[in-house]
Amino acid sequence: MKKILNLMLSVSILAILSGCAEEDKNVIKIGAAGPMTGDQSKMGADLKNSVELAVAEWNAKGGVLGKKIALLSGDDAADPKQAVSLANKFINKGVVGVIGHWNSSCSIPASKYYHDAGVVMITPATTNPKLTRQKFKNVFRVCGTDDQQGRVAAAFVSRKLRPEKIAIIHDKSAYGQGLAEYFKKALSNKIEVVYYGGIVQRDADYKAVLTAIKNKRPDLYFFGGIYPEAGRLVRQAKEIGLTVPMITGDGVYDPTFINIAGSAAEGTFITFGRDPARIPTARTFLEKYRAKYGDPGPYSIYAYDATNILLTAIQRTRTTDGAQLAFYISKTPFRGALGTISFDTRGDVTRAPYVLWKVKDGKYVQIR
């Protein structure tokens, strides 16, 4: 028995060693990181699909620097710990750059490792401002930030909706709580915040907190969080007779929200980027994505542009050196599906166009 075990062990070690030796030096590796499993797995899939699409286009044209591009996709399960171990795995495998992560609570810890290893990181969806306040020269984001988003939402509430009382809840995550704080800070002081508190993510029943909110009689409530919770919140709010509208952020912008909530989702306000269907340069991307994967997710187009930014930088600088790539990306405006993207000294986009959307007849409609 022992002999057999020994044999099996040595065979497996051999297999591992030969695997290393076989590794192809003639590819350029880039990573796609996001929640590929768990309740936010759809977001991970959206991200991966877009990166895959961009990589396939480049490879069809002969790759970059005469080499094919190999895409490694990894799962952080929306968990900060797994995000860090995934970052280390990518670094050990020698990726040139990473597109991701999706969640703020994953991107922020992972960014430190990419920074130390000199790997370029471009996130298509992380909106927590802290990510780019760490003075990491290799970290970029192609979407907006929560303080910008919070300000847009607060301005809309203060000027257009003009409630007397408002309740604010969040899901305690880096993203949700951050957004709620920025929103609260930017809110006109004429509006009274009658409730401010957190909820438990993945919990099924939010009626207790909703009842407490209803008791304070707000004219509106704000939620900082992601669509699975938002869907249950609006549905249960209607059940207990809390009929005032919800206003929330980009994390809720997904059809699943409407599917979970049914007609209870009607009238919900959401801050999100401009409708890609209204951006002329986005048309080719949308057609290609639809043909291959079906309807694009909220951040698909951002992930696509992020990938192209990275690959263009490699081609133009003719290097895979992280510092040189980061320097090139920070200095050179990029013309992509979203229009022209240029970065400020932090690595944020110079123009973050958040607009307001509303759920109307089971669809998201851009209202201004």
């Binding site: 499993t37 768990g38 309740d39 797995s41 759809k42 809840i169 305690k172 508190g197 957190g198 909820i199 438990v200 993945r202 919990d203 099924a204 029943d205 009626k207 207790a208 907190v209 009842t211 407490a212 209803k214 008791n215 699975p228 869907g231 249950r232 549905r235 249960q236 209607k238 059940e239 207990i240 007779g241 699943t256 599917n259 979970i260 049914g262 007609s263 209870a264």
Partner: protein, 300 residues
């Protein structure tokens, strides 16, 4: 506000109570904490959402809502009962003579296996069901009561009464009580122990399936991981009521539901999950046998 929280708590408590019954019945007969029970509930919810989805596709809910729910409940109960009995055959029966720790570990293993089977078969994302029952409730003492809540409360109370009648006045119920008092003696006087144990698992699983279908109708989403937390809370309810005691599990379920709701609304919604487990710790310190629990007598 108080009335509303009372109603929310009772509806949630009814779900906990139904699941807690499965824990307590199995414990009563086998002195085993069936940690895979939360997964049976999850399975019931999945069967529920699939059947409801199919019935909605053929347009039955518009024709008769009651019939839709009845068909869904029946299929889900049958399926889960079969699953529960099979789990017992596969994971617990071979270990019946082993030390008490062995079946417990087997139960934990079964729980992980069931979760992963569903994860692989049904995917990792949320499955949702668009609301088929109107959610606008009617007012009662300043609170809103939705039709689903009425259904949950009345159906679970009806099931509890039926279960109590079954235990106290049928031959099978008598056999179950005898088995829980002394398994060996019950076998000696001619009771088919294996059958009693199978029936116990079936009933417990069917009740969990009802809870699963109710939650599907109530919240509209299912997830392969949903049985974990709720299973622990129902277990807490069973311990609070006195594990092994059927009225105890019912009462315990309602108490946990109410404590959670009042705690979340008057103290802090962030620590909602903590309240149930705080109750577990306090119970174990102050009254280890629970409310209706009997002090264990050492069998000589």
């Amino acid at each position: 506000m108080f009335t509303q929280q009372l109603i929310n708590g009772l509806a949630l408590g009814a779900v906990y109570a139904l699941i807690a019954l499965g824990y307590t019945m199995v414990y009563g007969i086998l002195q085993l904490i069936n940690f895979a029970h939360g997964e049976i509930y999850m399975l019931g919810a999945y069967v529920g959402i699939i059947v409801l989805g199919m019935l909605t596709a053929v347009g039955l809910p518009a024709y008769s809502l009651a019939l839709t729910i009845f068909i869904t409940l029946t299929i889900s109960m049958l399926f889960s009962a079969a699953y529960g009995a099979t789990v017992e055959r596969v994971a617990y029966k071979p270990l019946r003579q082993a030390s008490r720790l062995a079946p417990l570990i087997s139960a934990v293993g079964m729980s992980i296996i069931l979760q992963n089977i569903i994860m692989i078969m049904q995917g990792k994302q949320y499955r949702f069901l668009p609301p088929i029952i109107a959610f606008e409730g009617f007012s009662l003492f300043g609170a809103k009561v939705s039709p689903v809540e009425i259904f949950i409360l009345s159906a679970s109370i009806l099931l509890m009464i039926l279960l109590q009648l079954f235990i106290t006045s049928t031959k099978m119920g008598k056999a179950m009580r005898a088995t829980s008092q002394d398994r060996v003696m019950a076998g000696l006087v001619g009771i088919n122990i294996n059958k009693v144990i199978s029936v116990t698992f079936m009933i417990g699983s069917a009740l969990a399936a009802v809870a699963g279908v109710m939650v599907t109708l109530y919240y509209g989403v299912v997830h392969f991981f949903m049985g974990y937390t709720i299973g622990l809370k129902a277990f807490t309810a069973a311990v609070l009521g006195g594990i092994g005691s059927i009225p105890g599990a019912m009462l315990g379920g309602f108490i946990i539901g109410l404590i959670e709701n009042f705690g979340a609304s008057y103290v802090s919604s962030v620590y909602k999950d903590a309240f149930a487990f705080l109750v577990l710790i306090i119970t174990l310190i102050l009254r280890p046998n629970g409310i209706f629990g009997q002090k264990a007598v050492d069998k000589v």
